[in-house]
């Protein structure tokens, strides 16, 4: 109590000019209590399904049927064992492969293009920029049929490689946009100096601009990583055999396989959700800035 009082006193010393009519203490306390109550109500809404998932994943089918609400009698890990013994690890590696390759390509191609848009003059610069930005407005499913046909004809249908083209293509517009804005803010003098020292455009880009763009590149990478990791519609059209499935398709496959064994299904869903949730907990601020970057800048 006393610490928060001290803090408040310190604040009013810092800003003596602001004098507001203070509401009575009991009113403020009541207000705070109400805020915490609301916070807890939403915590229940947000977390309850996840809690239910966790609870069920550690139960046996028998325990689940007898009492869906009770805690499991002992920490039963057999459900996770059966998920891990299934094709789950394969789905996981497939997803890692597709997402990592797509993100690397998106970052490479979009930073090159953004550098040209931000730092060079050439005929058609504005129309080309708008043309690529228009991609942000395109609903993915209008391209689904042509891309399916194209993949069939190119012979990449039902391979992981088929996903990379569309993932990179649809990742480019927002990434080019974010990076162009960022590159434009880097002081030009730094690059001029390296040019005078005899660097080519590419050397300047690679040695001066890219190292300065770390935060923006991370934002772009994380935004696209989450997108590629969760992508569902292209994967379900372009992949057919379970060996090629990415995690989202794999989860659905296991859902069908485990059928009415609810605890096994919940263990699958839990394991499938863990990578992105852990990623978020570790890189919280970056993930948030990645997800809001595109939205707030437009």
């Amino acid at each position: 109590m006393s610490t928060s009082g001290d803090a408040r006193a310190a604040l009013s010393i810092q800003r003596p000019s602001v004098r507001t009519r203070r509401r009575p203490v009991w009113k403020r306390r009541l207000n705070e209590a109400g805020a915490y109550l609301l916070a807890l109500v939403w915590l229940a809404v947000a977390a309850f399904p996840i809690f239910f998932m966790g609870l069920t994943a550690f139960k046996t089918m028998r325990e689940f049927l007898v009492s869906p609400w009770e805690l499991p009698s002992r920490l039963n890990l057999s459900n996770f064992g059966s998920v891990w013994a299934s094709d789950f690890p394969r789905y996981l590696t497939n997803s890692v492969f597709v997402s990592v390759v797509s993100v690397l390509l998106i970052v490479a191609l979009s930073s090159l293009a953004a550098y040209a848009f931000a730092r060079m003059t050439f005929p058609g610069r504005r129309p080309l920029f708008l043309w690529i930005l228009a991609g942000m407005m395109i609903p993915i499913h209008i391209t689904l049929i042509p891309i399916y046909i194209m993949t069939q004809r190119m012979g990449t249908y039902d391979t992981l490689v088929a996903l990379i083209g569309p993932y990179v293509g649809f990742g480019l517009p927002i990434s080019v946009f974010i990076l162009t804005e960022f590159f434009s803010q880097i002081p030009k003098e730094l690059e001029d100096a390296s040019r005078i020292d005899g660097c080519t455009y590419f050397q300047t880009f690679y040695r001066i601009t890219l190292p300065l763009a770390g935060p923006a590149l991370a934002t772009v990478a994380i935004y696209n990583l989450i997108g590629a990791w969760n992508e569902f519609i292209f994967a379900s059209v372009l992949l057919q055999s379970p060996e090629a499935f990415t995690l989202p398709l794999g989860l659905r496959q296991l859902f069908g396989q485990f059928g009415i064994d609810t605890p096994a299904v919940m263990a699958t869903v839990l394991l499938g959700s863990l990578p992105t949730i852990l990623f978020f907990v570790v890189f919280q601020e970056r993930v948030v800035s990645g997800l809001t970057a595109g939205a707030l800048r437009s």
């Binding site: 239910f52 191609l109 690529i132 194209m150 989860l251 992105t276 948030v288 939205a295």
Partner: protein, 301 residues
């Protein structure tokens, strides 16, 4: 022009080609997988074509004539509009409320923010499967709760009932997307300079008054962004509907995107499926353009 660098003659041309070289890889991939397919979609929509044979039969605007008569398509359009309305009415106000709650400077709100955001980090397929169990008629949590509350008459197979299937998925979509808009609003709220609130407080604007006359007007830009995102997202929505109901029962939760998907990839009518895709793109485009025009106009008036 790059200032400060001595440019020899002929360098301008060289610089131009350098710029094109930087752009080329991105343009090739974008053209192949985004821009090109859109044009192809329009082209395919003029054919009666299974996609299996090399070419189809040219039918001109025939597919679009058929589309006008397609009651499932119009039902899907209606459902898309219900999804738009449901998303705007539930997601944005709740998200704004949560953002206000989180930015009040109370202790422990960082924990709540992290916890609130977790649903948005789950893969959509995982969310879909989880909620299928929550809505399950016999083992589901929703019916179990209703039974415990004595509301036996309210129990039903939420996803199997024509009256509730669409709304049940809309609720799940809200669960997934409220955290996203919450973070968006929170970022905007944090960006409001503290001085403005202090100045308003001196003028006697506190509590709800401060919200209506200070905070809300400063959030208009972000709210408009959120409305556009939510609207465009709802008009092209696909994932959870496809996973949880497949558009059923009896097309009760069919969306334009699921209808297109099934026409093309279950019934192998690639030509007609393309015309559904083109039409849904046009509808989404017109509605968003209208919205942008109206909000823009409002701002200037």
């Amino acid at each position: 022009m790059v200032r400060g660098v001595p440019v020899p003659r002929g360098a301008a041309t060289k610089r131009m080609w350098t710029a094109y070289a930087f752009l080329l890889p991105a343009m090739v991939v974008y053209g192949t997988f985004v821009a090109g397919p859109i044009l192809l979609s329009v082209y395919y929509s003029l054919f009666d074509w299974s996609g299996v044979s090399r070419t189809g039969t040219f039918v001109g605007s025939g597919n679009f004539g058929r589309l006008l008569q397609d009651s499932v398509f119009w039902r899907a359009v209606g459902n898309n509009l219900r999804l738009v309305a449901g998303s705007l009415v539930t997601q944005l106000p709740v998200a704004l409320g949560l953002a206000l709650l989180l930015t009040r400077g109370l202790r422990g709100m960082r924990f709540f923010r992290t916890a609130y955001f977790v649903p948005h980090m789950m893969p959509t397929v995982a969310i879909g499967i989880l909620w299928i169990f929550i809505y399950d008629p016999s083992m589901g949590v929703v019916n179990d709760l209703l039974a415990r509350l004595g509301l036996h008459g309210w129990m039903r197979g939420w996803l199997g009932d024509e009256r509730t299937a669409l709304w049940a998925v809309i609720a799940t979509i809200a669960w997934q997307f409220i955290p996203f808009y919450m973070i968006l609003f929170q970022a905007a709220l944090v960006g409001i300079p503290q001085e403005l609130h202090e100045a308003a407080a001196i003028d006697g604007a506190t509590g709800s008054k401060a919200f209506w006359y200070v905070t809300l007007p400063l959030l208009v830009g972000t709210i408009r962004t959120a409305v556009v995102l939510s609207l465009v997202g709802s008009l092209k929505y696909f994932d959870l509907i496809y996973i949880m109901t497949g558009g059923g029962p009896n097309h009760a939760s069919e969306l334009m995107a699921t209808h297109m998907f099934k026409t093309a990839f279950n019934q192998f009518q690639m030509g007609y499926g393309s015309s559904v895709a083109v039409a849904s793109f046009l509808i989404a485009f017109v509605v968003s353009a209208l919205l942008l025009y109206v909000t823009q106009f409002r701002r200037e008036a």
